[in-house]
Structure formats: structure tokens, C-alpha cells
Subunit: 402 residues, 2 copies
């Protein structure tokens, strides 16, 4: 079985390395030999043995009937979308790690794959090496999924973990993460939550069966989280995590990416550094969690290659037709209920707070003497907005489930 | 598609409940309607609508060609083994939650299933509702598994968690667990590690491809763990967990069930109460962990029903031929390397310990003044045995990876 790899960057070279390292066991599991025939890249790699497989023209791959599986690890929407669509229409299966592509065109590409009796597989697009797409699709089939909460971005989890363990500021830790190569020079996609947003859109589409458009998902990043927030969280025996979440309540589906206070005993709070984890609740299963390395060359490549094995094993039958292109209209997150941790400007505001919010939990830290901080009860966000409006300036608000 | 359920106990009634609760989505995912035609039980259930499906004679099920899937949730080796074998030979797929059956006869039953082009599926036999069998078989296909560590028994994890959080004795907590129904009146299978032993044998067979006999797995329970051990562990910033572990080093495979000290930062240490988790290391993937409810009526039934969905979807093709009946001869655990936490009788033995073990970490707690406790470096168990022999009476030894 001949395959082609589109893109010889970090993940692409990882895919070649994994196929070489575990050649025997991969071939055994796939049921036949898996051979990389072409690698598409604009660059040449003169010092690398891969050079003999490098092609610069995608049509060579597209028009070679010997290529049965295409691995797309270029990233970005175009030209990946055109390339993938072309391959599927030619009867080639595609395995991708490209979350932008899956979030935007997943339903369409699964449909084209199904029509052509091939597969469009994307295990690596969420959670890197963590098996999550296949478990959601193939394992949790006895359940109605009611709740997903994920730490879906390693960079932001590294930053929040380090802020929490070492009592440092966001800016200091971001710089450290950039120096270590955990964060990009332009960190926006990570720290503003855009990366997590695409991933929760994919998971929500999969869990609830219709296309969730990532543009519809309320997205807040971690740039406003300070070391005072973390000190308050500790007082509340809580951790702050950037959570991509979605939940189904009756006919309503809510989705959001935002920093969140969770109790220290919650399994997600124990997920530190660059690790990712996805917590899923089923109506009969209860809680399960999938944990592992959410990024990195070899873990991500491992997930891509497991898709290649599936594509080879299931040649001629479509195994992954999982959500419809019909749009899932998300319900207004302002109707979604949770608690709110609030830092109000000005000390001594307890009576006013109690008058407005009823029973709350007040909390204080020695570093912030000029504010009144509290945790509300559970209420719709709309109700919180209305109540807080009368109380003056808010230094910060973080959603909570404590 | 008609199915029969063998045994209307906790899991069996759970399977019927899950099929009723999520009927629509299960039928959709299975691609056809799943109907329980018979329930085999020795008892009658006059007040329960299930009574109209109750049969007492297995031959009715075996000889009914309409029955295509048999759910075996009786437990125990016989008559389960005879019933399951008979069903597979008649061309019926079997889904089971029975760890004794899978540990003892898994390879044989998978072979018979394969010869008859049906499936023998057993997701619920390890980790209850946690997807672990299918992920190991279908997801981690790009990797060589090098290491498995599992909290595989909810009862012992509940006991150790409560001892740790509340500073209580083993006997006190066991009694509480029995009162709450988390532990049997005869708790031996749980507290002596026999249950975990069968489960690690299944996982090891699956990960390394040949039959690991559970009788070959060194098995120690938690009955010797005291509140002093836990106090020492806290001083070492560690937790004590009953771990079913196996590892592959070159051509050697080691397997063991024993209490173990792991660092507080290890994801398994955060797994509390009756929850289970399985931590897996792959040579390219790195670490992944699967977490959830390892027992209980509905979580276990959810896993069984997900197997039923797979059996229905994959009618006519064998999807689970995963380990050979050829025996995997385990290597002598005395050659396996780890650290050892040792409590030596008598205070002030530090010099003798250092002379024998070289560099160690001494630790003391106020409750145990008449002993010398220390953590060794990493060495084969045989070397530890030889060294400790000259040092007098050992109050307790617990293996460690710190």
C-alpha cells in the first residue's frame, strides 16, 4: 500500500519517522506493507534521505493510482482543502492532523469520502496523540453525550500551570514559554483561545451529530488572568484552566472556550504543563477522561499513523461518517448556567453584594486590599450580567463550577 | 437484530436498562433495531416486565437462529465458557463483561470467533465503563506499548483513598466500604489483588500479542498497608496505589500487581475513590491515560452495549483477533528494576543502611519512633532481596517509582 505525505514539517517528518521506527508492527496491524512513495513539499531536503521521495507538484500524487492514502499535515485551510477534496474524489483515503480544515470543512469532506467509499480520518486534529475522535465515534456508542470539558491547548495549560505553581505573572511565563518553544512568537492563536475553539467545535460536532461552526463558539483567552486570580482560586480550593466546553440540555447545545474555576479534586485540575485532557460525561456511562500529550511531533504523528492503519485495514469501506453538514444552531450562552467568581473594585462592598446576589462566598487575599471578591451561586449568565451591572466596576470575572 | 442476555443480575439488568434508555441513538448507531428477545436466568422476576423474556434453558437461545448476538454477564468461568463457546460455534457474536472468562479463555474464544466469522468482544471486562480494550486494539496501532500501569480495582482504590485522606486504618475503612456496598462481605478477590491480576493479564495479552496467564503474575494485595505507610508516603510527596503493571524491556515482559509509591504529580495518584484509570506508555506516543468508573451497573452496561453496537455493525466480519493462544512466558520479576521504600525495625540504623544500599533517602514520622525508614535507588528486586537480608527485620516494603 503506497501513501503520500503532504508537508514535511514537524508532523510530516514525524509521520515518516514513526513509520520507520515501528515498521514491522504497523505493517502487521495494517495487514500489508505501508510504503511512503511521495512527500509533497515546496522545499528540497538535500541532506535528508527523504529527498528521493520529494515532489513539488501535487498532480503527481493525485494522478498516481498506486497512491491509496494521502496524509495531509500541511495545516491551514488552503490549499489543504483543495488537495484533500481532490484526493477523496479520486478514491484515495485521507488522514489529517489539520484542525482548521476539519473544523471548517469536516462534514463536507466526510460526505465526499462516503460517496467515494473511502475514509476521511482526523484523530490527530484534537488532542494530538490522545485517542479521542475514535473513542467518541466508536466506543461511547451506548450513551448520549451530555457534557464535554477539555484542556485542548498545551501552550495555555503550560502557562496557567506555571503561573499557579510558581506564583508568576502571565507576561513572565509567556516569555518563558516562548523561549522554550512552547509558545509561538505570535501567541494569539493559543492565548486567545482560537486553537481550543476549533477543537471544541470538532468535538461538539462529533458528539451531537451536526456541524458546529467555530465562529459561533464564544471564545475567551487567558490574557486577563493574573496571579491574584490564581491566589484567589487557591483560597477557594480551585484551579483555573482554559476549558473548551460544550453541553447538551434538552434540545439546547451550548459551547464556549473560557478560563474556568474547577475544584482541586476535579481530574482536569491535575492536568499540568503541556498535557491535554478531555473529560466526557455520558448519560449512562458517567464520567470518563482521556489524557495525554496534546501536541508534539511524535505523539501527533502516532495519531496520524493510527489513522493510516485504519484506512489501510478498512480499504473499500467507509467507517467514519459521523456528523451531518446540517448546521447545529447553538443556544445563547447567556442562558447557560454556572457560577461566577467576581472581583469588584473597592473594599467593603459585602452588604451590597449580598443584597444583589443573595448567598455568596466571600474570599480575600492579602495582595488585593482594595476589592471585594466573591463566588456566586449557579445562575444563567444573563441573570449575572443584570445583577452585576448595578454593582460598579468589575476587575475580573471568571466562570466557575465549584 | 435479536439478542439474548445471559444473567439478569446487576450488569444484565443494566444492559436492558441502557438499551431502553438510549434506544433511538443506539439503533441509529448500530444501523438497525436492537431487540432483547431472551434473558437467561435461573430465577423468575414476576414483578418485572422482563419476566416475559426470561428463559431457564440455554438451548432455547442456542438453537434460535434469530439470535445473532449473545451478551454474557453471568460471571465465573463455568458455565459461561461452555455457553459462550457454543454461541460462537453457532455463528453468534458474544459480548461479555466477564474478566475471569477472558483472562482464562480469551485467546481460544477469539480464535473460535474468527473461524466462525463472528466477534468475541469484551470491552467491559477491564475498567468497567472506561474505553480501554478498543483503544488499545484500534487506536494505539502506530506504537509499541512499553508500559502499562493501572488502577484496576475500585474497591481497593476507595480504601486507599479514604485511608490517605482521613488518616484511617485499613480495617476501619474496609468495614465502611462493606457497609456502603463498595466491598463484598468476603473482600478477598479485591483486597488481595486477584481481581486486578486478571485485568492486568488481559491488558498485557492485548498489548503484547500473546496469552499472559494470570497465574504467572506476581500478586500482592493491600492488606498490609497501614496508616503509617501512608504517613511516610506523604513525607515523600507520594501516594500509595494498588497498581496492576506490566512492561516490556527488549524481549522481556514483566507483570505484577502490588501496592506502589508514585509521585503526587503522577496522574494516577490523582485518581481517587472508586474511580479506575489505565496509564499507557507507547514508544512514539508517550503517555496517555484513560480514566473513569471502573465498575457499577450502568457504566459497565454502557461498555457492554457499545460492544453490542460493534457486533451488530460488523456482522459477518471479525474485527477483534487480538492475541494468540501461544503462551507469553513472563520474565522473572526479580529481574525487574524499581525503587523500594523500606521500614526496618529499630531506630538509628542509618549507618548500616548506607553501608549496604549506598545513597538512600531517609524519612521519619512521629508515630513510628522505633524504626528506620528509607527509600532506595533503582535496582533489580533480586539485588534488593540480597541487600536487605543482612539488615534484620523488615516491618514493611513497598515498591516505588519516585
Amino acid at each position: 500500500m503506497n501513501i503520500a505525505v503532504l508537508g514535511y514539517g514537524t508532523v510530516g517528518s514525524g509521520v515518516v519517522e514513526v513509520l520507520n521506527t515501528n515498521q514491522d508492527s504497523i505493517n502487521k496491524r495494517a495487514g500489508q506493507d505501508v510504503n511512503v512513495k511521495y512527500v509533497l513539499d515546496l522545499r528540497d531536503f538535500e541532506q535528508d534521505p527523504i529527498q528521493e521521495k520529494i515532489v513539488h507538484d501535487y498532480d503527481i500524487i493525485l494522478n498516481d493510482d498506486e497512491i491509496e492514502v494521502v496524509v495531509e499535515v500541511m495545516g491551514g485551510v488552503e490549499p489543504a482543502h483543495t488537495f484533500v477534496k481532490g484526493a477523496l474524489e479520486k478514491g484515495k483515503s485521507v488522514c489529517t492532523s489539520n484542525k482548521e480544515l476539519v473544523a471548517r470543512h469536516g462534514a463536507e469532506l466526510m460526505e465526499i469520502a462516503s460517496e467515494n467509499n473511502v475514509n476521511f480520518l482526523f484523530e490527530a486534529s484534537v488532542g494530538g496523540g490522545i485517542p479521542i475522535i475514535r473513542p467518541l465515534h466508536n466506543c461511547l456508542t451506548a450513551d448520549e453525550i451530555t457534557d464535554i470539558k477539555g484542556i485542548l491547548n498545551g501552550t495555555t495549560n503550560y502557562i496557567l500551570s506555571k503561573m499557579s505553581h510558581e506564583g508568576l505573572d502571565f507576561d513572565t511565563v509567556l516569555k518563558d514559554a516562548q523561549d522554550k518553544g512552547y509558545a509561538e512568537r505570535n501567541p494569539e492563536a493559543d492565548v486567545e483561545g482560537y486553537d481550543a475553539c476549533r477543537k471544541i467545535a470538532i468535538l461538539s460536532s462529533l458528539a451531537y451529530g451536526k456541524q458546529v461552526d467555530f465562529e459561533d463558539v464564544l471564545t475567551e483567552g487567558i490574557t486577563k488572568i493574573t496571579k491574584s486570580d490564581i491566589a484567589y482560586a487557591k483560597k477557594l480550593k480551585a484551579g483555573i484552566k482554559l476549558i473548551g466546553m460544550s453541553k447538551k440540555l434538552g434540545h439546547d447545545v451550548y459551547a464556549m472556550v473560557a478560563p474556568m474555576l474547577l475544584p482541586e479534586s476535579h481530574p482536569l485540575v491535575g492536568v499540568n504543563d503541556v498535557f491535554n485532557a478531555i473529560f466526557v460525561k455520558g448519560n449512562v456511562l458517567g464520567d470518563v477522561m482521556f489524557y495525554g500529550q496534546g501536541a508534539g511531533k511524535l505523539p501527533t504523528a502516532s495519531a496520524v499513523v493510527s489513522d493510516v492503519v485504519d484506512a489501510v485495514k478498512n480499504k473499500g469501506s467507509n467507517i467514519m461518517a459521523s456528523w451531518k453538514s446540517e448546521k447545529r444552531v447553538l443556544s445563547d450562552v447567556k442562558k447557560s448556567e454556572q457560577q461566577y467568581f467576581v472581583r469588584l473594585k473597592g473594599a467593603g462592598r459585602e452588604e451590597a453584594v449580598k443584597k444583589t446576589f443573595g448567598e455568596v462566598t466571600f474570599v480575600s487575599i492579602s495582595d488585593e486590599k482594595d476589592e471585594t471578591a466573591f463566588l456566586t451561586g449557579t445562575m444563567p449568565e444573563k441573570e449575572y450580567d443584570e445583577k452585576i451591572a448595578g454593582l460598579g466596576e468589575v476587575v475580573n470575572m471568571i466562570r466557575a463550577e465549584l
